[in-house]
Chain length 225, copies 2
């Protein structure tokens, strides 16, 4: 599958590497893919030129990454996601599965962050992305854990889960298959995209456990009666 | 131990029954404990007179329940908690462990509820209770699951967890011991009372799983690397 990932940070790079390892063609979309930009050190992840050399993936503009792909992944900062996806091009998103990995985290008061008031409560980032791009087939997934775990669930021991939600059952099936291919055994479905309200809060639990344990290798599992 | 539970609804009754079964003396505190009020059908739980007959517990005013107890549990609706605890009496809460079981749920737009804007984001209900009653030793616990599971964790199979947080380590140890006595094996500590921000979001996941599975017997477990 041709996959366009919007965002060239640590999450985009790690997801991209994992998907390339499964045989997919991955393009990372960034605002200005100049040679200078590709060589630049980045706060998270490696310089993109190194990522290209290591993985065989490509880097392009957000619009190119979205236009040339069968499936699009939003791996931008949550508060910047709708602007970034608008650059990617609303028309090119129409009909495509769009996996929303982003979290609308507000670090303005330090750690722990809160969910941005604009995107939480009786709404969620994923629902607002769906509303902004109604022809895209938005599936919320992979947002509840750190990037390393997304593509390597074996880093956490025992049973643990990748939560998904979305309005389009066929799109959720595509994402569930992708998750299984990445090694995820449990992919609980939180229903339609309102489920993203719960999913976007789960990252607060993941972050709080970093604050109390110092480690990042943990995830939640739904135990049942 | 003498335990005063503020709130006579399903959560207060179920927690009360479970704690009485462990040998504790439990008083449920309600606004107006008249004979008429005790006989009244309740939306959740049984008429309080039946609860008294079945358990040997007692029902009193909120102030009496708090004053006569070694440990106090807030089992009121989250949006009414600070007013109820004020009726219970700020002076009587001083120095006591106060377990906050409540969630500030806003059902104004139906299901799924959101967290009340007043008590979420860069704050939490538990932190606001601590600020309102600074001499109480507030521990957030038991709020992430339904009442039946609180006192009978065996209803959910496999490993699953009771999250706690609080600013007072000795108070958290008291609550952890109580949880172990109720059958909880895993009691992960989410740190100081800011951890309640994560805990109060967890109930949204629990509720969303009800919406998608139809059942209430589920809970989360933290898997680690």
């Amino acid at each position: 599958m041709k996959i366009g990932i919007i965002g060239g940070g640590g999450v985009g790079q790690t997801l991209g590497s994992g998907l390339i390892a499964l045989g997919h063609q991955v393009t990372l979309g960034i605002r200005a893919p100049s040679a200078e930009e590709l060589a630049k050190p980045r706060a998270q992840g490696k310089p993109l030129a190194e990522w290209v050399a290591a993985t065989g993936g490509t880097v392009a503009t957000m619009a190119e990454a979205a236009a040339g792909s069968d499936l699009v992944i939003n791996a931008t900062h949550g508060e910047a996601s709708i602007a970034a996806l608008s650059l990617a091009g609303p028309d090119t998103l129409a009909g495509k599965v769009l996996i929303d990995v982003a979290n609308p985290l507000d670090f303005s008061k330090g750690f722990p962050p809160a969910l941005s008031a604009e995107y939480s409560g009786h709404t969620s980032l994923a629902e607002q992305i769906q509303a902004a791009f109604p022809a895209a087939r938005v599936v919320k997934a992979f947002n509840t854990i750190g990037a390393a775990i997304m593509t390597n669930p074996g880093l956490v021991k025992g049973e643990h889960d990748l939560f998904i939600s979305g309005n389009d059952a066929a799109a959720k099936a595509v994402v569930t298959d992708l998750a299984h291919a990445l090694g995820w055994k449990n992919v609980p479905d939180l229903g339609d995209l309102k489920g993203a309200r719960a999913q976007e809060t789960i990252v607060l639990v993941w972050l709080q456990l970093i604050g109390t344990t110092g480690g990042t290798l943990h995830n939640l599992h739904v135990a049942r009666g």
